[in-house]
């Protein structure tokens, strides 16, 4: 008889949704999370609001996780890090260190939901001086300032008069090795731009971009309002470097559609960093023997028609551990993974 439990690794948005799905279907979900709380990147990085509906992130996440917090079908294991795995579908044995103690978890199927980490712009693109200038931030740094409603220059605590976003930092870049588009940064930058304009109405906001990519309703829900209502300035052209000028930052680039060089002084520059596989994602791929793509995300094997099955039967991957994903993608994939994980257990349990 196959083990009927599903192990979910990672307590972010994908993991929470998968656990809810398993529990709702009447099976047991064992959710392991390395931190002492759920919520993943949106919680750990203190996101201000969610994209695209702009709902308060903490509130939305609380509502989302509430059903699994006191649920007899969900075993929550905090401070737990998976360290190894063996077995196969219907009978996985997963080693972990939980609250400092070594444990073994048995499960019939596994859902990997270990997500992404944000690209570190100081690592390879020194041209933007992320480690050098206090007023050069990433999207995640800016989220924290916006969440606290204290959108000020880190260097001197003053309210900025002119800021810009630089898109595609760490994405779409052969030199760095991340040739893919990180999918969400255009929308998130635009949404942050709206928040800046709301919180600091006198601050001019520019977005320097290669292509703006806000598909589907993100177009009319984020892009158009940012430009039309909030007068965010979109300039096609990417900055080549940032240098200090007095107490401001001089951003050099080209205003391509106006065919003119551009040297503008900014109070703050926000780098729209993309997604890379998290350490946990790389480790899970190694422990479970999952094939990874050239960027080290976990490879799913069904093309566009199956976004969660991995090369190992009984192991599914959901959300940004498989590649850049927005919340809609992540939640949809998590539900699919829950369904397929239970399907694999039921098929094998009867064999």
């Amino acid at each position: 008889m196959a083990n009927q439990n599903v192990l979910i690794i990672g307590g972010g948005v994908a993991g929470i949704e998968a656990a809810k799905g398993i529990a709702d279907l009447g099976y047991k979900a064992i959710l392991v999370e390395k931190r002492d709380r759920l919520g993943g990147n949106p919680d750990e990085q203190q996101y201000s609001v969610l994209t695209p509906d702009r709902r308060d992130a903490s509130e939305a996440l609380s509502d989302m996780m509430a059903p699994i917090l006191d649920n007899e079908n969900v075993d929550l294991m905090y401070n737990t890090i998976v360290t190894g795995a063996s077995g196969s579908v219907g009978n996985f044995k997963v080693k972990a260190v939980s609250m400092g103690k070594e444990v073994e978890i048995e499960a019939g199927a596994v859902i990997v939901a270990t997500g992404f980490s944000h690209f570190d712009p100081g690592r390879e693109t020194q041209k933007y001086g992320y480690y050098e200038h206090d007023d050069v931030l990433t999207l995640t740094d800016a989220e924290k300032l916006l969440k606290e409603h204290k959108f000020v220059r880190p260097s001197n605590g003053e309210v900025p008069k002119r800021i810009c976003f630089i898109q595609c930092v760490g994405s779409r870049d052969r030199q760095i090795g991340n040739e893919y588009c990180s999918k969400v940064c255009c929308g998130i930058s635009s949404q942050q731009a709206i928040e800046v304009r709301e919180q600091v109405p006198d601050c001019k906001v520019y977005i320097f971009y290669i292509d703006m990519r806000m598909y589907g309703y993100w177009e009319n829900e984020i892009y158009w309002p940012a430009q039309e209502e909030f007068k965010v300035n979109y300039i096609k052209g990417i900055a080549t470097e940032i240098v200090k000028k007095g107490d401001r930052l001089l951003v050099k680039g080209e205003d391509t559609t106006l065919r003119r060089p551009m040297e503008v002084e900014m109070d703050m520059v926000i780098l729209a960093v993309g997604m890379e596989p998290s350490e946990g994602t790389k480790k899970m791929a190694e422990y479970f023997g999952l094939k990874q793509n050239k960027y080290n995300f976990i490879e799913t094997i069904g093309g566009p028609l199956d976004t969660v099955s991995t090369t190992v039967p009984g192991v599914y991957a959901a959300g940004a551990c498989t590649g850049p994903a927005d919340l809609e993608d992540t939640v949809s994939a998590a539900g699919l993974a829950a369904m397929k994980a239970l399907g694999s257990i039921r098929r094998n349990g009867n064999a």
Partner: protein, 234 residues
């Protein structure tokens, strides 16, 4: 003329003055219906007949105003908006901008504020403006000067000589005129002059062409006085 956007050509004009003019355009009731946001996609330029012959781009106009680039808007108000033929082919914009109507508003601001380029652009139209404003009709038969229209053939001389007779051959009696395109009755002309006066059109003319303004004032004040109106244009 080639537009060089790399320089701030009108740096002698203060930013505050440029901003004031731009704010005047933005305050226009039409503004929110003719400017949304610009993709910078160029569909307007592709459709624009003027863009084929001049260094003129309706996209630039939309971009400049959408970005609220005050210096650039001022440059375009001087060096670009008069190259538009106001055909509104650009109205196919997917964002529903109307670069042509944006130009209409910018031109009105340029005229109201007596910008030098507005004066230059309208210089050649002085005679037509005079005709319309003083008579209420546009091109009149006596403006037909044979030497100016050789392409009309040799008959144009015959016609010009006996213009009055040719006009009387036209069936509608209202067209038996040579100094105006048609017969304009006294009541119409008085109403017209009062409209020019009360709507501020005369102020516009004064800002753009003082000579023309003075001639019009002479004509109008006299006629209005005869009709019993005590109107001064200063």
């Amino acid at each position: 003329m080639v537009l060089d956007l790399s320089i701030n050509k009108y740096s002698d004009v203060t930013y505050e003055e440029k901003e004031r003019l731009f704010e005047e355009a933005k305050a226009d009731d039409r503004w929110e219906h003719i400017l949304y946001g610009c993709y910078e996609c160029g569909i307007c330029v592709a459709a624009c007949p003027s863009a084929r012959f001049y260094d003129f781009s309706p996209r630039l106009i939309a971009q400049a105003v959408a970005r609220e680039d005050v210096d650039l808007v001022y440059t375009l108000m001087n060096d670009s908006i008069w190259d538009c033929s106001q055909c509104f082919s650009c109205d196919r914009c997917p964002r529903q901008n109307s670069p042509g109507q944006i130009i209409t508003v910018l031109r009105e601001v340029a005229v109201r504020n007596g910008l030098q380029t507005a004066k230059q652009a309208l210089e050649g139209y002085g005679r037509i403006i005079y005709k319309i404003m003083s008579t209420g009709s546009q091109v009149s038969p006596d403006m037909l000067q044979p030497d100016a229209f050789p392409d009309w053939g040799k008959h144009v001389y015959e016609i010009a000589e006996n213009l009055d007779i040719w006009r009387r051959a036209l069936p509608p009696e209202t067209l038996h005129t040579t100094e105006t395109s048609w017969k304009v009755d006294d009541k119409t002309i008085i109403e017209l002059y009062l409209i020019w006066h009360m709507t501020g059109v005369m102020d516009l003319i004064e800002g753009i062409d003082e000579g023309l303004f003075m001639i019009l004032v002479d004509v109008m004040e006299e006629r209005l006085e005869e009709a019993g109106y005590d109107v001064t244009f200063d």
